[in-house]
Symmetry: C2
Subunit: 440 residues, 2 copies
């Protein structure tokens, strides 16, 4: 007998955990709906042709691929190249994020959709990453995207939504904003336009490898020391005002600044409680962002990014529908859960528990208890009947383990007098109550 286990990087969720996760999801969902987003769901499995080539070579390797049903061996001619072979014996894979399936959905349903289309989607995704703290092979994303509109109102509302969700969850975050056009501007001003990707990839690692690490990587990728110095000086900028003169010579850089100014102009008209600031070093790995880039970090817990997002202009183009601009954010449910746990922020009411347990001594009491159970449920009470007549220690222990606060004990005496004994498990007291009182 093999000891039962779950696959590495995956988790079971206990009742307490499910209820707490749902608490987070409901707050996110409510906010999505408030801002006019509509739900869609897509299949867990996608054709590999939909998924591959969208997440880089590394992403292709991290896709979970599903073996064809039936005889797949006829394809095995060249078992020497396993990477290639995998795509021959597998047709489907598990979705890697919610954005690419959404783009596919939009293209397939373009004739039924009213644009701008604001959709939300809350589903698990799967990646064959090495599991570590805050990183799982199965994890949940809560995405909101608007496609078919390049209005910056969308960026503004996405920031409002981030603000409202974290306010309601009850912890402080910093919402970082950047714009891909600012990164292009930096590359232009530093005269490394042709090495923009290398520059961006290096800058993206600033948090992990420090400014010297970034410089070394840029130099290793053939960026001149002089250019590095310019880039480093620009990355010091903390505000749009500081950034503006540094990028004044770049048209695209100015455009990026202008877009962020517009976003901040509207944000200043609404009350944002969380910290929002620009971060010219923010690039995020995904290369499909073309405008705004978002990232959220918890202020008081070391947890990496709990939210990402940005604007992409070409995503549906991958499936044959060009010129549809989109922008979206993605909440990382699992990391938010970890932050909430670390900060002890789940309200006690989240752990839903049954309020009454009826315990009985013998068959006659059990039948009496069964009738009481029906009456109490009809009266809207949260109540269970211990499923067999038993010694009190049995059902009292059960109530304790389940944290059920009240146990109604029914013996011969109680049935005759109509006064039932109610044991208050948390306080330790007990009192006599009539059926009518219990229904009240």
């Amino acid at each position: 007998m093999i000891k039962p286990a779950v696959p590495k990087g995956t988790r079971d969720f206990s009742p307490v955990q499910v209820n707490r996760r749902n608490y987070i999801v409901e707050i996110i969902k409510k906010t999505f709906i408030k801002y006019g987003f509509q739900p869609i769901e897509t299949p867990s499995m996608e054709n590999l042709s939909t998924l591959t080539g969208k997440y880089g070579d590394e992403g292709d390797q991290l896709l979970f691929k599903i073996l064809k049903n039936g005889d797949f061996t006829e394809k095995i001619k060249t078992p020497d190249d396993y990477k290639k072979l995998a795509f021959e014996i597998c047709e489907k894979g598990l979705r890697y994020d919610l954005t690419v399936p959404f783009a596919r959905y939009v293209v397939m349903n373009r004739n039924e959709i009213a644009f701008p289309f604001k959709r939300y989607q809350i589903q698990p995704v799967w990646r064959g990453d090495r599991p570590q703290k805050g990183r799982y092979q199965e994890f949940w994303q809560c995405d909101a995207d608007v496609v078919g509109s390049d209005s910056l109102l969308n960026e503004v509302e996405l920031v409002q939504m981030l603000d409202e969700v974290y306010n309601e969850l009850g912890f402080g975050v910093t919402i970082l904003l950047n714009n891909r056009k600012i990164l292009s501007g930096i590359a232009e001003v530093a005269n490394v336009g042709d090495k923009m990707m290398s520059m961006t990839i290096a800058i993206d690692k600033l948090d992990k490898i420090g400014i010297e690490g970034v410089r070394n990587e840029m130099i290793a990728n053939g960026i001149a020391a002089e250019s590095c110095a310019i880039i480093e000086s620009i990355l010091q900028a903390q505000t749009l005002e500081e950034l503006k003169p540094l990028l004044s010579k770049s048209e695209i850089g100015n455009k990026g600044i202008e877009e962020l100014e517009t976003v901040f102009k509207y944000l200043s008209k609404v009350k944002i409680k969380q910290t929002v600031k620009i971060d010219p070093t923010l690039a995020r790995g995904l290369s499909y962002y073309t405008g705004a880039i978002f990232e959220v970090k918890a202020n008081d817990v070391s947890m990496g990014s709990i939210n990402g997002g940005g604007r992409y202009d070409d995503l549906t183009g991958l499936f044959g529908m060009p010129n549809v601009s989109g922008v979206g954010i993605s909440f990382g449910l699992d990391r938010i859960y970890d932050v909430m746990t670390e900060l002890g922020l789940f309200p006690a009411s989240t752990d839903k528990v049954t309020q009454y347990l009826i315990g009985t001594f013998d068959d006659a009491c059990f039948d009496f208890g069964f009738d009481l159970l029906q009456k109490m449920r009809a009266a809207g009470k949260s109540v269970e009947l211990y499923p067999v007549p038993a010694k009190p220690v049995k059902f009292l222990n059960y109530a304790n383990a389940r944290q059920i606060p009240n146990v109604i004990i029914i013996g011969e005496n109680e049935m005759q007098t109509g006064q039932l004994m109610v044991k208050e498990m948390l306080v330790g007291g007990q009192m006599a109550m009539s059926v009518e009182e219990l229904l009240g």
Copy 2:
């Protein structure tokens, strides 16, 4: 460019569909919670060692297996037997139902769980079946199980839950009950104790192949014509009263009758609105049922079984924890959805729509609209701002397509007078309203 598609047997769900599916799920969930069930969730992927051998040979073939990440080709020595090879190059599979993962969960968490453990679980499962009407490769199960209690109260409450869910969903069903012990009794009385499985498998097909088909299959499996005649006569029984004398010579048969009598005794004390009746031909494919067997069929739609369930005594034994009796039911969300759609039972309120769209003519109006948007949202209104200033035809068409009932139009005139024009899209009228009136 490949035309984008979803894998066969899987589906995208549009906003309307997601909202309607959630409507069903919420009713089921509410009922589960009312009866004291607690939620758990398990990973989509399980180790193949957890899944294989639980669903028969056919089931093993229908499991979706996930290719190992990294180089899997070293295992390819004998590519001639693809069924065996599949289990060498794959370690994980997608869950096939929620019952086996639940049994694994119980065994792994036995020290933390208070028994009897009443859990519910609402998640998708995957089977490589040939897709057809009402049958998908990815579909949702809504399961409630009690383990660690052999009390028949559990069977009674499961029937109450079935009744309440279908009452609230609003369509008539027939809840069929049987007991594996009655099938054993039939086999004993007909003197085919050693061919009980063949008999059961044949009987299970009664709906599809008729009584002659059943007889032919039994005879083909070596059951004597005389025994077949006895079996057929017993299967005619429509009630427990008719069945009782026919099984009186079988001890196990009597036990099965007695159990069903107890269940009906308690059911008679509560008000069950749906039809509940016994069906001695009900076997259901899964061989792990040992006591009660449940099945639910919609009365007015031809859709096969929309609910299954039963009692199993040995399920956790598969993972090394013997002697834990369990009983459960499983709602088939997708089929219930199809029934509700066919009968037109979704209330209009299920299709959540935004109530107001603000449309603006130019930048100044847009800023006015943005402020109005904030005020209306703060007042709890469901409202969106068309994301750019535009000609009325643009935002009126959008409101139409989204079925948003009210459009607030903001032009220069409106800003000056403070009287905004509100177009009622469904009625076709329009009226002037002040900001204060809109917030009221």
